[in-house]
């Protein structure tokens, strides 16, 4: 019995010692972390080198709990910048200036400077794919100018610029003039041989004398280099095809008055066809529903004929946007719609021979667009605010 007692005491003592081993291996206390909210990649002056900016949150400055009261003057974030050749190496270099080790799991955005985007991003992003701390559903943005400036801009409504940008990205769903690209979507496209992708662009602009961030439009990447840009309408044309429309406003003109329609939902079906003579045709069928938003003028647009006219005008507008983007991408020669993938899925055997020459085939691709629209709800009034004509 004494031996058993001794054994149990031994185990108990060992357990108590375990409490002291709390510095062991992987445990890190919360106050030893530098939580990174945004990363920016820029091309340094030397073409081989990359400049990485990491935005770290200062938890003392965040208004939360008891600590937020008096420190509203303090900035809630700090940007560290380093220059080097390998991404992982640069990030570790941060330990020379930061007292805490950088912690990437809560990273919200990745911003790439324009120069770096034009010279290829694949190698810089390799580390982010491999590292188990980096997550895959992180927003990606291309900065017109340098990423460092974008990350340095103090936000108006929020506390940390990176979170502000992330929330901006989420708000883009309301106009659908920008895609929201996640990191894993970029990886998908980098892996495939023919696909190209778009990344939204962000720039520092002026609004009422203050500097603000403007997110609109997108940058087109082929393989991994940026080759061009799309403006708002062209980007929305792209989103019609890839089924990423959230909401938005379409302006049309009917019977001499302009009307604004709010997009509720839209669906696009891509059907590739290979004709008997080997010619490739893509059929796009878009079905869209919208709500009647507002109108100018006194003509009542909510009559049966007018509604039909509006639907046709809407379809025309959508078609126009898609044709705009098709033309632009033909000049840039980037298959951002995924037509190649669609062909691969439907005609796997023919695809093997077409894959190598896809660039040429894409330029001469015949695309047929069919749009069906419907106007659903009409709002609270069914006549414009004009005195009714007797």
């Amino acid at each position: 019995m004494k031996n058993r007692f001794r054994r149990i005491t031994g185990v108990a003592v060992a357990a108590l010692i375990l409490v002291g081993l709390t510095g062991c291996w992987n445990s890190r206390e919360l106050n030893t972390l530098a939580i990174v909210m945004g990363i920016g990649f820029d091309q340094a002056n030397d073409l081989e080198e990359v400049e990485i900016t990491a935005q770290v949150v200062k938890t003392k400055g965040i208004k939360g709990g008891k600590n937020g009261g008096g420190s509203s003057q303090e900035e809630a974030f700090i940007n560290f910048t380093e220059i080097g050749t390998g991404s992982f190496d640069i990030i570790r270099e941060f330990t020379h200036v930061s007292s805490r080790k950088l912690y990437f799991t809560h990273n919200q955005i990745i911003v790439i400077g324009e120069n770096l985007a034009r010279s290829g991003i694949r190698n810089t992003l390799d580390m982010l794919s491999r590292n188990h701390e980096a997550r895959m559903n992180v927003y990606m943005l291309v900065a017109k100018g340098s990423a460092k400036d974008v990350l340095n801009l103090k936000p108006e409504l929020g506390e940390v610029p990176a979170m502000e940008i992330a929330q901006l990205m989420e708000a883009q769903k309301n106009t659908s003039h920008t895609p929201d690209t996640f990191f894993y979507e970029v990886t998908f496209s980098l892996v495939s041989k023919t696909a190209a992708f778009v990344i939204p662009t962000v720039e520092i602009g002026d609004s009422a004398g203050r500097k603000v961030l403007i997110v609109s439009g997108s940058a087109v990447f082929k393989t991994d280099k940026m080759v061009g840009e799309l403006n708002e309408k062209e980007t929305r044309g792209l989103l019609w095809v890839t089924d990423d429309i959230g909401s938005g406003i379409i302006e049309i003109a009917v019977q001499g008055v302009t009307a604004e329609l709010e997009i509720i939902r839209s669906n696009c079906k891509i059907t590739p066809e290979i004709g008997a003579d080997g010619s490739v045709k893509i059929k796009l069928k878009i079905t869209e529903e919208s709500d009647f938003g507002s109108q100018t003028g006194s003509v009542n647009l909510l009559t049966m004929e007018n509604i039909q006219r509006m639907e046709e005008a809407q379809a025309q507008e959508i078609r126009k946007e898609i044709e705009m983007v098709l033309e632009k991408t033909r000049t840039l020669n980037a298959d951002i719609f995924g037509f190649g993938e669609a062909l691969h899925r439907k005609y796997p055997h023919q695809w093997e021979s077409m894959e190598a020459e896809w660039n040429e085939i894409f330029k001469a691709l015949d695309v047929e667009i069919e749009v069906e629209t419907k106007i659903n709800s009409i709002g609270r009034i069914d006549q414009p605010n004009y005195p009714s004509k007797e």
Binding site: C24, W25, N26, H132, M136, N137, Y184, V191, K346, P348
Partner: protein, 369 residues
């Protein structure tokens, strides 16, 4: 109240078999490397093939009711040759236990806690497995039911949460690969998840209704196959072209869940589920190895052998391969043939010999007529 001998109900066996196959969801990276986006076809085809192969085990069990495969080979081939075959089986279960344990070590080390030394992780894991085996096979089999339900609910939950990220187009190009790839992937899936049920042949002596063994095995395999198919389909449809690139597709997929920014970072559930499922698998394998040793060398109770074998497992599973690349190569290219020897060829010969044995007196009688 038990009478000293442990008993397992056929329902427990059925669920345990299903749970065993569920534990292989970590290993889908082997199939992914070979079959790519068409792994789901491989799963369906190998399910059919495995049903045929498992018939072998069931037939053996019917010919020698109440005996495990070690005892059967001794009864069929005689003491000397039977013992040699039993040693093969011992080595097989032992090596499977080592491989699975090193899988867990790899998973935890790479994804959850990179800086922890592997010894600590494996020590705790094997300690718990050895404890379960010492408590008896009844304890392990009882939890098969619970863990199966848990596995299904976790996978179902993730499927629902990932629904908006799934694009079934990713499954589409079918039959676009060379035939050899299909053969290879079917081979892998048949051997690695499905036919490792050989370990359950060691459990047969404890099953209460011997007639229902066949039915339990088939239904259990079907449940496990459904789970595997759902997991593979989900992974392919979410990850698409990146499916072949990532090291642990099922894990990466759970990291993508993000619903309204509230339901996010759900990989905790996945990690816990994987730990529990592989614990179950390693416990069963450890039990099979220990029992095989006990039965081969006619040791009364297997309890005393658990600790030495567990210690050996820890030591070898620290580094069974030189590098992670070798481990991947092993899984895709060598393991199918290595395991096929033990899982298919040996039982096949045992079955033939058993059938011949059972036919010899009949031949004598037929000669009389």
């Amino acid at each position: 109240m038990n009478n000293g001998k442990e008993q397992i109900l056929s329902a427990q066996l059925m669920f345990s078999v299903g749970c065993f196959i569920q534990s292989s969801t970590l290993l889908t990276s082997f199939i992914a490397d070979v079959a790519g986006n068409e792994a789901w076809i491989a799963v369906i085809a190998s399910y059919g093939l495995s049903m045929l192969l498992v018939r072998m085990y069931v037939k053996l069990a019917k010919l020698y009711p109440g005996k495990s495969i070690v005892q059967i080979s001794e009864a069929v081939f005689g003491p000397v040759l039977g013992k040699i075959l039993s040693c093969f089986y011992i080595w097989f279960f032992f090596s499977l236990a080592i491989l699975n344990t090193s899988d867990v070590g790899f998973f935890v080390n790479n994804f959850i806690m990179p800086e922890t030394p592997k010894m600590a992780i494996l020590l705790m894991f094997i300690f718990v497995c050895a404890w379960a085996v010492r408590r008896g096979v009844e304890t392990i089999m009882r939890y098969g039911q619970l863990f199966l339900i848990m596995g299904f609910s976790v996978v179902g939950l993730f499927c629902i949460l990932l629904f908006k990220d799934m694009s079934f187009d990713n499954l589409m190009p079918v039959f676009a690969m060379p035939v050899m790839k299909y053969v290879q992937s079917i081979h892998i899936v048949t051997i690695i998840p499905f036919c490792e049920i050989l370990a359950f042949t060691m459990v047969f002596p404890y099953v209460k209704d011997q007639e229902k063994i066949g039915r339990s095995l088939y239904i259990g395999m079907t449940l496990g196959a459904i789970h595997l198919l759902v997991v593979v389909l989900r992974d392919i449809s979410v990850l698409g072209p990146v499916y072949t690139h990532v090291t642990a597709p099922s894990f990466q997929v759970t990291r993508l869940i993000n619903i309204g920014n509230v339901i996010t970072r759900m990989e905790f559930f996945y990690e816990v589920a994987v730990n529990i499922l592989i614990f179950f698998k390693v416990s069963v394998l450890l039990f099979a190895a220990v029992l095989a040793v006990a039965q081969t060398f006619h040791i009364k109770s297997y309890r005393s052998l658990v600790i030495p074998i567990a210690v050996l497992v820890i030591c070898i599973s620290m580094a069974p391969f030189i590098s992670a690349a070798e481990s991947g190569f092993w899984g895709s290219n060598i393991a199918p043939f290595y395991s096929a020897f033990f899982e298919i060829i040996l039982p096949f010969f045992t079955l033939i010999a058993a059938l011949i044995r059972s036919m010899i007196p009949e031949e004598g009688e037929a000669g009389l007529k």
